[in-house]
């Protein structure tokens, strides 16, 4: 069994985890066109080589990131999301003030 080193729980069997997809920055929710969203949601780099991706520890509901080699099946490193996210992501669309009021 392959071992994944969870930043929260330490080394655990990979069967305890779920793969969560490639890591990509979300497009700007205020100004992105439909085709940009389509690419963000459906399209992937699907690289042969070292990729950054989301993983999830099922038992503790903990999301984190990993760098993994998709050719050799080796995990290079795992790390917490705060390495890449250090500010709050705002989803409020200020182009539409009525929707804005509802969200708040």
């Amino acid at each position: 069994m392959k071992i994944l080193n969870c930043p929260l729980n330490g080394p655990r069997n990979i069967s305890e985890f779920t793969y969560g997809g490639e890591f990509h920055r979300m497009p700007d929710p205020k100004h992105s066109a439909d085709h940009v969203w389509a690419e963000h949601v459906f399209f992937h780099d699907n690289e042969a080589g070292i990729v950054t991706e989301w993983w999830f520890h099922n038992a503790t509901s903990f999301w984190f990131l990993a760098e993994r080699n998709t050719i050799t099946d080796e995990v290079v490193r795992t790390f917490c999301v705060n390495e890449l996210f250090n500010e709050r992501v705002e989803f409020i669309n200020d182009a539409d003030p009525s929707a804005n009021a509802e969200v708040k």
Binding site: S15, T18, Y19, A38, F42, F43, N46, A48, T70, T72
Partner: protein, 413 residues
């Protein structure tokens, strides 16, 4: 007779006819360059030469003919899908398969032994009834069957109610079949080569040259070739090759593992599949049981076999066929499957002019080989997308018109 054989063996030049073009230098220019000499690539070349009088074609492969996923799939042919687009497309494929040996004058060992999909829950029965209705409406032989009929179709199947997931009903697909997968690629390559198509093995495409949004040439390890158009048919490496042309695809590549037992006398006639326990099995004409359907839990470009998959496939198949507990495994292998978000293939034009995509074949590529080749050839020759494959264009993801194919294989989905 032994002397005749000895004489034959000692002859300097092999008196048999070569099926494929012998290795030759690449020409400077081809009208059509097909990347990938698997079933799909050779099938496109065959139909282009046969129906559209396009002969200046090179089929390139970094390995050898039929050596990729053509050799790694589990050779299942069926058309009992769920979406109208899917059923109509695969139905035409099954029809072409049925006449392929005659057409090639080459035995692809097609055997229409039927396919039985098992339901272990009420939800599955509901979805099978839906599938059967869609299938029958579109002229595909498919029916919901009860436990008694299942017993008659597959007497060896464990129908006990004292198991994890008792069998409640089944979806019987009389058109379901199997064929020798390698022979399909060989047959197409033979027919294509006889019509003047050049097959170039050990020829790797290193770069794809796009000028002003139009593909003009491919750079290979044996030199550069100018070309009128390019078709990529490289299941398992679709994203990697498309990237060379600057195209990003909605694909994640996962290995799918399968394994095969030692040969036994004929025991199992149809193909049996269980989406619930994630396994499918059939007995080949050589007597081996092919057991398939284990997708790895994360994307990978690697065809290693794992113990986890052996365990989960074995557990699932032993519940269905307990007598296999004594069987010895001969081989376990993997093929890389290009999974799309809607479990449907991607065929047609691409954002690059004259660059055609034959990709996203996940676990449904082998069974589509003839019809995909025929329709893609028509597209390449006429530059008009045939109606049958229009819904499968890459563009569908931008229009949010995915084809949610819930009738795909009993693998990861």
């Amino acid at each position: 007779m032994p002397f005749g054989l000895l004489k034959y063996g000692l002859k300097k030049d092999y008196p048999g006819k070569h099926h494929f073009t012998p290795a030759a230098d690449l020409k400077k220019h081809y009208d059509v360059v097909i990347i990938g000499a698997g079933g799909h690539g050779t099938s496109i070349a065959y139909y282009l030469a046969k129906y559209h009088n396009v002969k200046n074609i090179a089929v390139l492969d970094k390995g050898y003919l039929g050596g990729g996923n053509t050799a790694r799939n589990t050779a299942v042919i069926r058309s009992n899908y769920l979406t109208e687009e899917g059923v109509t497309f695969y139905r035409e494929s099954v029809k072409l398969f049925q006449n392929l040996s005659n057409e090639f004058d080459y035995n692809i060992m097609m055997e229409s032994r039927g396919q039985l999909t098992l339901a272990h829950s009420d939800a599955a029965i509901r979805s099978f009834r839906w599938r059967a209705e869609v299938n029958q409406h579109l002229g595909v032989r498919s029916a919901l069957v009860d436990r008694q009929t299942i017993k008659e179709l597959v007497p060896n199947l464990n129908m006990s109610e004292d198991v994890r997931y008792p069998i409640m009903a089944g979806l019987w697909h009389a058109d379901g079949a199997t064929a020798r997968h390698d022979a399909v690629a060989w047959g197409y390559a033979k027919g294509a080569c006889a019509r003047g198509v050049e097959l170039h093995q050990l020829t790797e495409v290193e770069d794809i040259i796009v000028t002003k949004g139009k593909v003009t040439a491919v750079q290979t390890n044996r030199g550069r070739i100018a070309c009128g158009c390019v078709v990529q048919a490289v299941a398992g490496a679709s994203s990697v090759v498309a990237k060379k042309a600057g195209i990003r695809l909605p694909i994640h590549s996962y290995p799918l593992q399968a394994m095969v037992t030692q040969p036994y006398k004929p025991l199992l006639t149809p193909h049996v599949s269980s989406p619930h326990v994630h396994v499918y099995i059939h007995q080949t004409s050589r007597g081996e049981f092919v057991i398939g359907g284990g997708s790895d839990p994360y994307p990978l470009y690697n065809t290693r076999a794992t113990l986890e998959q052996k365990e989960s496939l074995s557990a699932a198949v032993l519940e269905l066929f307990p007598f296999l507990s004594q069987a010895r495994m001969m081989r376990q292998w993997a093929g890389v499957t290009d999974m799309t978000p809607d479990y449907s293939p991607i065929m047609g034009m691409s954002p690059v002019e004259n660059y055609y995509l034959d990709a996203g074949w996940g676990t449904w590529g082998f069974k589509a080989t003839p019809i995909c080749g025929k329709t893609m050839a028509e597209l390449v020759a006429t530059k008009k997308t045939p109606k049958l494959i229009k819904p499968f264009e890459l563009e569908r993801f931008y229009r949010f018109e995915q084809i949610n194919e819930a009738g795909a294989t009993a693998a990861s989905h």
